[in-house]
């Protein structure tokens, strides 16, 4: 187990370097960001040169990357164009997005798995068909449509929520945005659980458990669910990273000043430091979430051993 974790952690290093390098090159390919800093007019050449020097943009790209990575290991993610250290931006953005992600994941786990179990046990019945249809609708409608629609109905027409989330972004305010963010994944979780449950329901160990006369809820939670959860856990685990990075649309609609907003601003302003910094952290989140998922397998199914 210990060796497995160490091996996995070591494998992260090349993935991490490769991912950051790719992002770095991509942002660089977009051209000189200084040109956009002076509005609808050319920066005077001296100031532009000075700014380029300050942000290290006058160096060759490989040198920029090496310097950047060197700084990252000392915890210095550089400075955004508005003069704010990127770490400061992260300090304000990540807690907000993490809260949003937690809300979304909770929706996925609670609503998704319950719906999945219910439909999986009642395959072919009206409930099953109804939920299947509903998930189909959710999957096919883009997030921004759901988001704008809910915002208009709940926020403006009925006045149940504020259409925009305040800068504190407390948990209560994030329920609707969290639901919107989770919606597509929620539908997938439901369908995954449903299939998995329906398949395992006919397996020998479930029949044995029922034959032993175990109560129904115990059969479902201890035997059926535990074995059916492995694909679902994999999905939810990888989804954590995707949700954090993919919050751009939801955050824009509901005015949430989180990671998505900072990334969007960073890309618009071609701010390498902001974009690479945030993506670096997202890559880390993704990798760690994957590792945790892999370790969870052993908990769910003790036959899985790590050498």
């Amino acid at each position: 187990m210990g060796r497995y974790v160490v091996r996995r952690l070591l494998q992260m290093i090349p993935v991490f370097i490769g991912a950051t390098l790719l992002i770095f090159l991509m942002v660089n390919v977009m051209g000189d960001p200084i040109a956009g800093l002076c509005g609808d007019r050319e920066c005077d050449p001296a100031t532009a040169a000075q700014l380029r020097h300050e942000f290290g943009l006058d160096q060759p790209v490989w040198r920029q990357y090496v310097t950047y990575m060197g700084n990252v290991f000392t915890g210095d993610f550089g400075t955004a164009f508005n003069g704010q250290p990127v770490t400061e931006l992260m300090g304000t953005a990540f807690p907000v997005t993490i809260r949003l992600t937690i809300v979304a994941i909770l929706f996925e786990i609670i609503v998704g798995i319950i719906l999945g179990v219910v439909t999986g046990l009642r395959r072919g019945r009206p409930v099953d068909t109804g939920v299947l249809l509903l998930t189909l609708v959710v999957i096919s409608v883009p997030t921004f449509v759901t988001g704008l629609l809910l915002q208009l109905l709940l926020g403006v027409k009925w006045g149940w929520i504020d259409p925009a989330v305040s800068s504190e972004a407390a948990f209560g305010e994030l329920i609707v945005p969290g639901l919107v963010l989770a919606s597509v994944s929620l539908a997938y979780v439901t369908r995954l659980t449903r299939t998995s449950i329906a398949e395992n329901r006919r397996s020998d160990y479930v029949r044995t458990a029922i034959a032993k006369g175990l109560p129904r809820h115990r059969v479902i939670t201890r035997h059926l669910l535990r074995n059916s959860l492995i694909p679902v856990v994999t999905f939810i685990g990888t989804d954590i990273g995707a949700l954090m990075g993919g919050a751009i649309v939801t955050e824009r609609i509901f005015n949430i000043h989180g990671v998505g907003y900072q990334l969007y601003q960073g890309i618009l302003r071609q701010n390498t430091q902001t974009v690479v910094g945030f993506v670096t952290v997202l890559v880390l989140v993704f990798l760690v979430a994957n590792l945790v998922v892999d370790l969870l397998y052993a908990v769910l199914d003790p036959r899985i051993r790590y050498a």
Binding site: M30, P163, Q270
Partner: protein
């Protein structure tokens, strides 16, 4: 009844403390008495650059500077005329040497006195290359700028401008490197604001919580999300704040801000999204403002490209201009928030200031037959097709570029005559312009820095000027601008600038498209809301309740 009045004031004070809603609605006629305590909330965008007077070149940061700073001059929110603010007088005998006397009795909100030194220090700071100020070029007319800010990349040999001299506690002199008669009128621009000692002593702390000398002071600033400004009670100026303060809230999207306004959670939106223009009359009624601003949209041409700069090209350019049905586009796409342009300035200048409707003449009137004829006479479109380049990330540029192309295609009876050429980000768009990579006309917008005809012509069309993106050049135009700058009589100067504009017209150096309006919407808690010629709300005059 006395007791009741006191109670009302107490309630007002409480409301200020709580930064809460209106008070005093019950008594009186809603005049300055009751409403002065309320705080309003307004939409805001995250400023792109650090908030310093000489470093702010976009509207969002400018909005704040306008609230916390007052300079030597201030532009009248109605007429745009430059009026003395902190300046007692600005005198000159030769349009090149100016003596400035600062009014006595002004202080910064931290108690420091505003002196001549406050201005000179601020200007030196703004001009000095090592401070990286984006607006440094505003000081370029002052003598010694080339030493403090060598444009050619040479070494900076002076930290201060030799043209600035403090001659007394409240007086200083400015020597310019060339004659510039309207120089005093430029001094209302925020880059020329005075700075307190605190700015230089602890720069980081100042940036976290800027201190100025305007009607508001910064109470609380959380970067990227909100700035709370409160009325500065001891503000010595005549334009005191009529409300208790303003909370500027950063919105990720102006559509969300608009939704928040409709839902009653926000008081003021100063940028109504294009997609909502159709509903805005229904939603807000007369709480929607749509007034002219000092912004003009044009199509510039790459004069560095021989295809666009050969004999006869001016006919092609004029033909293209005549092929654009400005009226129809401003009606349908912009819902009349733009006005078809008939000159190269803006209506906010007024007739005396140099705005001359119709100066463009026939060349700006839609006339398909004439357009076809002119393009043909000029040798046809270079390469058989024009591509209009624009940035697709902000604004609704795609919509109007497509409409302009449609109009051109129809007028020229050719489906392939014009096509849009989108560029992903604004920075990349600017990149291609700076690198002179444009192969056809491209979007050019100009938001004025100060309401002077000089500002609409010189930076944009003077040979090698800072914003002359198309590199149009005309000796005759340059000479007329120089003469106008040397002219001390304003009316004569304006006349010379207009003659220069005619030179621009005859060569069709850029196609004027339309003048842009500022648009804003507000909640029923507010009254006396208006936009100044820079399309920024006049915050200090807004009444709450």
């Amino acid at each position: 009844m006395r007791g009741a009045t006191h109670a009302k004031w107490a309630a007002c004070a409480a409301a200020v403390v709580l930064a809460a809603a209106a008070c005093g609605g019950g008594g009186g006629d809603g005049g300055s008495g009751g409403g002065s305590g309320g705080v309003l909330s307004s939409s805001w965008g995250d400023p792109q650059n650090p908030l310093e007077p000489a470093n702010t070149n976009e509207v969002q940061g400018g909005k704040v500077l306008d609230m916390i700073f007052r300079g030597l001059k201030k532009y009248d929110p109605e007429t745009g005329e430059a009026q003395n603010m902190l300046a007692e007088k600005i005198e000159t005998s030769d349009s090149q040497n100016f003596t400035v006397t600062v009014k006595d009795g002004w202080t910064f909100s931290n108690g420091e006195k505003v002196t001549a030194q406050s201005f000179v220090d601020a200007w030196n700071y703004g001009a000095s290359l090592k401070n990286n100020q984006r607006n440094a070029y505003f000081f370029a007319y002052i003598d010694g700028y080339d030493k403090a800010h060598p444009e050619d990349g040479g070494k900076q040999s002076a930290d201060t401008l030799s043209g600035l001299k403090v001659t007394g506690p409240l007086t200083f002199t400015v020597r310019l490197s060339q004659k510039f008669s309207t120089f005093p009128d430029t001094l209302g621009y925020p880059a020329f604001a005075p700075l307190p000692k605190a700015f230089f002593d602890d720069h980081d702390a100042w940036l976290k919580k800027p201190v100025g000398n305007g009607p508001y002071q910064v109470d609380n600033y959380t970067r990227g999300s909100q700035m709370s400004l409160r009325k500065w009670d001891d503000y010595p100026g005549p334009d005191k704040a009529q409300n208790g303060g303003v909370d500027l809230k950063v919105y990720t999207d102006n559509n969300t801000a608009y939704t928040d306004l409709i839902a009653g959670n926000l008081d003021l939106v100063d940028d109504v999204p294009a997609s909502q223009l159709k509903n805005v009359k229904n939603d807000l009624g007369d709480r929607y403002i749509n007034t002219p601003a000092g912004i003009i949209q044009t199509l510039a041409f790459p004069f560095y490209d021989n295809d666009w700069n050969k004999p006869g090209s001016e006919k092609v350019r004029k033909g293209l201009s005549m092929a654009i049905d400005r009226k129809q586009i401003t009606d349908t796409i912009f819902q009349n928030t733009r006005t078809p342009a008939t000159d190269w300035t803006s209506p906010v200048l007024g007739k005396d200031g140099g705005y001359k409707p119709g100066l463009c003449g026939d060349a700006c009137e839609y006339n398909a037959d004439e357009a076809k004829k002119l393009v043909k006479e000029g040798g046809g479109l270079p390469g058989g097709q024009v591509k209009i380049t624009y940035n697709a990330d902000t604004g609704s540029h795609k919509q109007w570029v497509d409409a302009v192309c449609n109009s051109i295609n129809n007028a020229l009876d050719n489906d392939r005559a014009c096509a849009g050429n989108p560029v992903g980000t604004f920075a990349d768009f600017r990149n291609q312009i700076t690198d002179q990579k444009m192969s056809g006309p491209f979007r050019a917008g100009w938001q004025m820095d100060y309401p002077l005809i000089q500002n609409f012509l010189q930076p944009l069309y003077y040979t090698n000027a800072s914003s002359n993106d198309g590199k149009w050049s005309s000796k005759k135009f340059d000479d007329l601008v120089d003469q106008a700058n040397a002219e001390t009589d304003t009316a004569k100067a304006v006349g010379l600038f207009q003659q220069a504009e005619e030179v621009l017209r005859d060569d069709m150096g850029a196609i004027p498209l339309w003048y842009q309006n500022g648009s804003a919407g507000y909640s029923d808690r507010l009254s006396n809301v208006k936009l100044n010629p820079f399309s920024v709300p006049v915050y200090n005059e807004i009444k709450v309740g």
